[in-house]
Symmetry: C2
Subunit: 215 residues, 2 copies
C-alpha cells in the first residue's frame, strides 16, 4: 500500500506540458531570471498554476514554499525527466519538401536531437550529400544503418501510401519510437511510441471552429 508506486500513471498531457515549461524556463534562464513562481509560469504558458504544481509533483518536490522554483534547477530536472540529458539519434525517411525542411531546421530543433541517417528511394537523391552533410542512403540500407548508428527514433516524412511499410521496417529494425508526419494512423505493436504531426487534422479543427462560430 505504502508502495512508492514504481510507475504511477503519468498523463501524456503532463509530459507535453513539461516540454512547454522547459521551453519557457530556457527563455527565463537566458534572461537571467533566477526564481519563478507557478502563477507566473502558468501565465506565460496559458495554463492553470495548480496544474503546473501537480505536473511537477508527479516527479518530486522541486519548489520552495513561499518562494517558488529556482529556474535553472527546475529546468535541469525537467530535462532529466524528459530524457533530454542525453542526445537522441534519429533516422529521417523521405527527403521531399518536408524532409528537407526538417533537415534545414536541424539547428532549430533543440539540442539533443540529431539526424544520424537519412533515406529516400528516389535514384536522383540517393548517393547525394545534403547541405547539412549527411549522405542520402537508399531505403534498402535502413536496417543496417539503424544498427550501425544506434538510431533510436524514426521520423517518417514519406507520402502516406508508404508510411505503414516504412514503419514496419523501422519496427523490424528495432526502433521503439516514431515521429510520423504522414497523414495516416500507423498500425504498430503494443509498447511502440508513435507521435503524429498532422496538420491537415489541425486545419479541419480550425474549419470546424470557423463554421460553428463559437469558442
Amino acid at each position: 500500500m505504502r508502495q512508492p508506486m514504481k510507475f504511477s500513471k503519468i498523463p501524456t498531457a503532463t509530459i507535453t506540458r513539461l516540454s512547454i515549461y522547459s521551453r519557457y524556463l530556457e527563455a527565463l534562464a537566458q534572461e537571467g531570471v533566477k526564481i519563478i513562481a507557478s502563477d507566473k509560469l502558468a501565465q506565460k504558458c496559458g495554463i492553470n498554476p495548480a496544474q503546473i504544481r501537480k505536473d511537477l509533483a508527479y516527479f518530486g518536490e522541486f519548489g520552495i514554499r513561499g518562494v517558488g522554483y529556482f529556474v535553472k534547477e527546475l529546468l535541469f530536472e525537467i530535462k532529466r525527466i524528459l530524457g533530454l540529458n542525453k542526445s537522441w539519434k534519429m533516422a529521417l525517411i523521405g527527403i521531399g519538401n518536408l524532409g528537407s525542411a526538417l533537415l534545414a531546421h536541424q539547428n532549430f530543433i533543440r539540442q539533443g536531437y540529431e539526424f544520424a541517417a537519412v533515406f529516400d528511394v528516389d535514384p536522383a537523391k540517393v548517393g547525394r550529400r545534403l547541405p547539412s552533410g549527411q549522405l542520402i542512403h537508399h531505403l534498402d540500407e535502413l536496417e543496417q544503418a539503424i544498427k550501425d548508428k544506434d538510431v533510436e527514433i524514426g521520423v517518417i516524412a514519406t507520402p502516406a501510401s508508404q508510411a505503414q511499410a516504412v514503419a514496419q521496417r523501422l519496427i523490424q529494425a528495432g526502433i521503439k519510437a516514431i515521429l510520423n508526419f504522414a497523414p495516416t494512423q500507423l498500425q504498430v505493436p503494443e509498447g511502440m511510441a508513435v507521435e503524429n504531426v498532422d496538420f491537415t487534422v489541425k486545419l479541419d479543427n480550425l474549419a470546424y471552429h470557423l463554421t460553428m462560430g463559437n469558442t
Copy 2:
C-alpha cells in the same frame, strides 16, 4: 449562472476524430466500398467502436441499424459538419524552409484549403514569384491583402521570436483562426481558434517514453 448554453459542448477530440474518419472514408469510397460498420472503421482508425457512434451521435443519426453506414453519405455529412463543403483561404507568413515545404505540399493539402496570400520580410524574397504561382508580399501588406482576398485562416511559419507579433497583426486584421508552426504558446483573445503544430514537443514525448521504457 444558469445560462442554457445553446450549443451542447462537443469535445475537441471528437472533431479531430471526425477528421480522421473522413480520411478513411475517402479511401473506402475510392476503393468502391459502399457500406461500413463502426467496428470495421474503428479498427482502421485504432479507436473504440462506441466512440465512433457517440461522436456521430452528437450531430445526428447517420447509420442504419443492423447494417452500418453508407460510406459516401457519411463522408458527405462529416465534411459538412467540419465545414469542408466550402473552400478556405489561408495566408502564409514566413517563407523559410517550412513555409516553402507547406506551399509545395499544397496539392497534398486536401481540397478545400488554399494559400491565397503569402508574406515574408526578407527583401531577397519579397516581390518574387513562387513556383506555385503566388507573389511574395511584404508583411506590411498583410492587413490589406487579408481584406482584399477574404483570407480566413492565418498560417504562421515564422521564427518563434516573431510569431506573437504576427499573430497580433492577424487578429487585428480580423482573422479568427490561426495554424501556428512556431514553437510558442500564442496569447490570443477569447474566441480565437489556435492550433499548434509543434514537433519539438512531440519529440520530447518520444524521448520520455524511450527513457521510461514503458507504454
